[in-house]
């Protein structure tokens, strides 16, 4: 039984990482109408920036997390302003401009990988956070880093929820995500909100990268596996739905952990997709998804 609980806790914490990346993808999808395929690289960039902040500024782990989120968010805003915005404008506003956006997302992912190679090299680097000994509860022994991921993830999601539901800016973000023309007519500076949405999405991706640092190594290719799981998570939960992204992320994490623990660890990457296929067979719109939304 304690083995099972252990696996669930490990699954929930890695699921929290997927969920944070998936929330970013969903947020960017609803705000900019693009599938951001370079989001795994934003997550990687966030982890490296976190590492740099941690080593050079001598901050503690919590502050490192916050500073890395802010810096990566700013990098995201820069990327959106310099590259994606031109493409969306050429396509007549922020609508799916066909393949262009998707291809450029892949392109951005390759560019960011290579930029990271140039700056930080190909070596996998540990994130040296002294979390101390595992916490013993009965016959469970919980590594603190896992607990940390779950708690930090919950705090971030809670803050995002409060921001979206209870602030003037959050209301504007929701308006822009639903319909840009109407948001414009409310007097909302839509391009600014789009930058904000992209920045928040990137900051959440960075948070995931910094949180995963202590349990995995930080390396240039770390985004590849995560982006695929995060997309699976977003689809399992219902694409574009933020609560769906959270639920999907946690389910994918737990499925993966239980599968690896009880069936076979070498097929670890398959369980997420088994879950995906199962969910799509039963409910094609995803668990919390509404019926397909046609974007004008």
């Amino acid at each position: 039984m304690s083995y099972f609980i252990d696996l669930v806790i490990v699954g929930l914490s890695i699921g929290m990482v997927y969920a944070l990346v998936a929330i970013g993808i969903s947020l960017i999808y609803s705000g900019l109408d693009i599938l951001h395929f370079a989001h795994g690289e934003i997550y990687m960039l966030g982890a490296f920036i976190g590492l740099m902040v941690f080593h050079n500024l001598g901050l503690d782990y919590t502050m490192t997390l916050i500073v890395a989120m802010v810096l990566t968010g700013l990098v995201g805003v820069l990327i959106e302003r310099l590259f994606y915005r031109r493409l969306t404008q050429a396509g007549g506003g922020y609508t799916v401009a066909g393949m262009g956006m998707i291809i450029s997302g892949f392109g951005m992912s390759i560019v960011l990988q290579n930029v990271a190679y140039l700056i930080w090299g190909p070596k996998a680097v540990p994130f040296p956070v002294p979390f101390g000994m595992p916490i013993e509860i009965g016959d469970l022994s919980l590594p603190p880093s896992y607990i940390w991921i779950v708690c930090a993830g919950l705090v971030l999601m809670g803050s995002l929820h409060l921001f979206l539901k209870h602030t003037r800016l959050g209301l504007a973000v929701r308006a822009v995500a639903h319909n840009k023309d109407i948001a414009y007519l409310m007097g909302i500076n839509v391009p600014l909100m789009i930058s904000l949405i992209f920045g928040i999405g990137c900051a959440l991706g960075a948070a995931a990268g910094v949180l995963v640092g202590p349990i995995n190594y930080v390396q240039v290719l770390m985004g590849l596996g995560v982006i695929i799981k995060a997309f699976a998570a977003a689809v399992v939960g219902g694409f574009g739905s933020l609560p769906g992204a959270v639920l999907g992320g946690l389910l994918v994490g737990v499925a993966e952990s239980l599968g690896a623990g009880y069936v076979s660890g070498s097929y670890k990457d398959i369980y997420a997709f088994l879950l995906l296929i199962l969910v799509l067979m039963v409910k094609p719109s995803g668990l919390l998804g509404v019926e397909a939304r046609v974007k004008a």
């Binding site: 007549g92 003037r168 209301l171 504007a172 929701r174 308006a175 639903h178 319909n179 023309d181 109407i182 414009y184 007519l185 409310m186 007097g187 909302i188 500076n189 839509v190 391009p191």
Partner: protein, 246 residues
């Protein structure tokens, strides 16, 4: 107050407006009439900034506004009211209204505007905590008009406020529009319901093929043979004589 001169524009490479010109004086209700595909919505969007005019000029309160971003035009006090279907369904009635006051930072002003809107449309106050997705078509139209008033603009532009509504509901809404105008609002309304629009407005423009085709005082147009034949189905029904919106 609003002066549109020789506006040419459209979407992509499709030209829809071929030099439209109109004027709206302060405190008046002016109607812009025309069938589907004549360019009236495009003209409205050109004024509110959603569509950038290719040529011509648009002046509001003596200031050029053509080419400005739509949110900056809202900040200057000119607001396009959306159609009822464009309320945000996943937000409550009050959230929709507060969104309309996005450009206002002063809480007291927002509270005052909210009170005023609830005065015009008491039903919205009763339903303020409901998701706007649960409202009827007429209530949605009221919500959108109310939302447009929340930033306390100097002029509003209505995009077919009678669209897809029952006659009694249209009458209610038009009476309230008349009341809003009496309280000092300048109104430009795009309508397909020519009869009702001419009863409400003091001056009207008829647009066809992207240019103003006929214009004149509303009570003259209602008896104009061209307008009657093209848009009013020949005669003005006698029942309209007793209909008063003011």
């Amino acid at each position: 107050m609003l002066r549109v001169e020789g506006v040419v524009g459209g979407y992509g490479s499709v030209q829809i407006l071929n030099g439209a010109t109109l004027n709206v004086g302060e405190g008046r209700i002016v109607a812009l009439l025309g069938g589907n595909g004549t360019g009236k919505s495009t003209l409205l969007k050109s004024i509110s900034g959603l569509v950038k005019p290719w040529r011509g000029s648009i002046t509001f309160n003596g200031e050029r506004i053509d080419g400005l971003r739509p949110d900056l035009i809202v900040r200057r006090g000119l607001v396009q009211v959306t159609q009822g279907k464009d309320a945000y369904p996943a937000m409550t009635v009050e959230e929709n209204l507060r969104l309309g006051a996005f450009v206002v930072r002063d809480r007291a002003r927002i509270a005052r505007a909210l009170e005023r809107v609830y005065g015009y449309f008491p039903i919205l106050e009763q339903k303020r905590k409901q998701l706007s997705g649960t409202l009827s078509g007429g209530q949605l139209q009221m919500l959108c008009i109310g939302r447009g008033l929340m930033s306390e603009p100097r002029m509003i532009m209505l995009d077919e406020p009678s669209a897809a509504l029952a006659p009694q509901v249209v009458l209610d809404i038009f009476r309230t529009i008349a009341r809003i105008a009496r309280d000092g609002m300048t109104v430009l309304m795009v309508e397909q319901n020519v009869r009702m629009a001419l009863l409400l407005a003091s001056y009207a423009y008829v647009i066809r093929d992207g240019v103003i085709h006929i214009e004149g005082p509303a009570d003259a147009l209602i008896h104009d043979d061209n307008v009657r034949l093209s848009y009013l189905g020949g005669t003005v029904a006698s029942s309209d004589a007793g209909l008063s919106l003011h």
